[in-house]
Amino acid sequence: MKPQPFKTLFGTAAPLEQDNIDTDIIFPARFLLITAREGLGRYAFHDRRFESDDQENPDFILNQQPFREAPILLAGANFGSGSSREQAVWALLGFGIRSIIAPSFGEIFQANCLRNGILPITLPDHIVRQLLGRALSGLNLTIDLESQTVAVDDESRFDFDIPPERKLALINGWDETAQILNQKANEITAFEARQRQEQPWLYEREIDQ
């Protein structure tokens, strides 16, 4: 699946101050029964966004203006910890989120973001706290992947790190599977030939067939 390319993003940042917002909060498990990856936006943060009678919870920040359409999440540490469910990322994408800024991320979640065209930005704790403190009164950010910067309402600017190859993949919307097949087919075949010699038991069932 080709992810949507990511170049620049301008928009409101919605503050979710809590640390350890896990994938069960982002996408409750009972919706994992849905096998499609499109249309999951309505389930993002479902149990916080909606009361048990399916009415919107007006106290939840993402139900309030100007955050309802915010393309950027500003979150506490360890965002997306917990399960590997990629539905958490697809739900955020469906909800309109294209970038998440946090002091740290759950590892599998972070990898899933990059594969789906969401840019996870790690900034130092004190900067995230400072942004969180200002975000409630409405904070517009400009994220530029090319220059690796987050600019705040044109007054301050923060640099972030991203490995160069990941950056290129995001900017171009590359599909990882296609890339491996196109570029590394010979290496994979050579590896298999060597492993078959050294650890033949890993291939025995295939010979039987």
Binding site: N20, D24, A29, R37, S52, R115, I180, W201
Partner: protein, 491 residues
């Protein structure tokens, strides 16, 4: 991804020598597994890693199969995958069609996919069905020295065999199916050295929870963790699997234990394990997968088991754990503002009061099962407590074996009768109330003593409250109707 932060580099244990001083050629177990599966190096300090085994389940695979179809790709090596429906399947009965239309469709989709792509499948009605992380080892699909992935974060479980096993997302599942490879960044290494002697009723579950409480849910992020020490060598494979299973709750995708005679004894003779001369060759290779004596870790954590008592979580994160005899922590005593706020939120959600004893907290449900504690040894431990006693009148208690083979074994030992006579419900295998995707779930306000691995908000059902603990502790809570120190009733 890019797991190693500069902060972590600076935080390295001072006893660990720096990268350039590492003894040339000496490798940790993790490094041996990494090197033996490196197809080639890639940009960004990443490598293309060969994947030997992929466990497939109904929840994280439909999108991957759909992507294969859309791009007209095939599976590169169909027999290196093993599929099962475990997450959303009902546990009350296996003869009728699945009632929930969504779950029924999801299982049907998996069955279509495995037929179309020729993937070996443990059928829902068959004896091989069970939780991915239980049937992998049971069938011999899980082998030492291999790389194993699954679209489930508790894939760390298989590290107990000295396999490099980690959880991946659904897109990565599709990449593995088509290429048999994944792009990965090498992790730092952490040694968790267990010393001392665990007292009776202090299990691998308690050790893991105590470790997570100590280092935090992000404490091992970016590291591949290896467990070692005489206690680990003396552990059964079931205990080792529990320990490695919970490594993800400390933020690490990889938990490892070096293969030894205990490992070989478990694997030998399993349906998919090598046989005859192949076995001998494999076994001697597996026993070579030890961390070299002069190899260095990037971090070392020591845990003294002499001080550990049965553990119970009080909050909504696995590191919010105390000993059963301790009081519920007081958030105002926590210096760090963010941790304090989190503790307050957790207590509020859990409906608990700071400073009151955890023991005696009234529960409504008990869940014994999951890939953490759903093996035969776990059921035996719970049954030993349940035997001759009765579940408290207001408690609903279910026992969900981790696999069909576990269920049959338990029945052969008469454990099902012990549970049934005590008032526990005896179920069919699956993830059940670990993830609450089927009809086994809590209602808002229900409180559950659970042997699973996550006490997140809503994990066992929206509004449900989860306390994690060992199987014997969960059984004890079922009997008294409140959180109980098993040592008080089982001596």
């Amino acid at each position: 991804m890019f797991p190693i932060t500069n902060q972590q580099r600076q935080n390295r244990d001072p006893r660990c020598v720096s990268e350039d001083l590492k003894v040339a050629g000496a490798k940790t177990l993790y490094e041996k597994l990494w090197d033996s599966h490196r197809v080639c190096d890639l940009a960004d300090d990443e490598a293309l890693i060969y994947i030997d085994r992929h466990l497939v389940h109904e929840v994280s695979s439909p999108q991957a199969f759909a992507a294969l179809r859309a791009s007209e790709r095939q599976l590169r090596r169909p027999l290196t995958h093993y599929a099962v429906a475990d997450h959303a399947v009902p546990t009350r009965n296996r003869t009728d069609a699945i009632e929930d239309p969504l779950a029924r469709a999801q299982v049907a989709e998996l069955e279509d996919n495995v037929a179309d792509f020729h993937v070996p499948y443990a059928a829902l009605q068959g004896a091989d069905q069970g939780i991915v992380h239980v049937i992998g080892p049971e069938s011999g699909f899980t082998l030492p020295g291999t790389t194993i992935v699954c679209g489930d974060s508790h894939t760390t479980t298989h590290g107990a065999f000295g396999a490099l096993a980690f959880g991946i997302g659904a897109s990565e599942c599709g990449t593995v199916m088509a290429t048999q490879c994944l792009r990965q960044k090498k992790a730092l290494t952490m040694l968790v050295q267990l010393s001392g002697i665990a007292s009776r009723h202090v299990t691998a579950k308690d050790i893991a929870l105590a470790l997570i409480a100590r280092i935090g849910t992000n404490g091992a992020a970016g590291y591949a963790v290896e467990y070692a020490g005489p206690v680990v060598s003396a552990m059964s494979m079931a205990e080792r699997m529990t320990l490695c299973n919970l490594t993800i709750e400390a933020g690490s995708r990889v938990g490892l234990i070096a293969p030894d005679e205990t490992t070989l004894a478990f694997v030998k003779g399993r349906r998919l394990a090598p046989q005859g001369p192949s076995w001998d060759r494999a076994a001697s290779y597996w026993l070579s997968l030890l961390t070299d004596a002069s190899a260095e870790y990037d971090s070392i954590v020591e845990l003294d088991l002499d001080r550990i008592e049965p553990q119970v979580t009080w909050g909504t994160s696995p590191d919010q754990t105390v000993s059963i005899a301790q009081a519920i922590p007081d958030p105002t005593a926590i210096a760090d503002t963010s941790a304090r706020r989190q503790a307050e939120t957790a207590l509020d959600y859990m409906g608990l009061k700071a400073g009151t004893p955890l023991e005696g907290t009234v529960i409504s449900h008990v869940f014994i099962g999951s890939c953490t504690n759903g093996r035969i040894e776990d059921l035996r431990a719970a049954a030993a407590v349940a035997a001759g006693r009765s579940v408290a009148s207001d408690v609903t208690a279910i026992v969900v074996p981790g696999s069909g083979a576990t269920r049959l074994q338990a029945e052969a030992e008469g454990l099902d009768r012990i549970f049934s006579e005590a008032g526990f419900q005896w179920r069919h295998p699956g993830c059940s109330m670990c993830v609450a995707m089927n009809d086994d779930r809590l209602e808002p306000g229900d409180r559950c003593a659970s042997t699973s691995n996550r006490n997140f908000e809503g994990r066992q059902g929206a509004g449900g409250r989860t306390h994690l603990m060992s199987p014997a502790m969960a059984a004890a809570a079922a009997i008294t109707g409140y959180l109980t120190d098993v040592r008080k009733i089982a001596e």
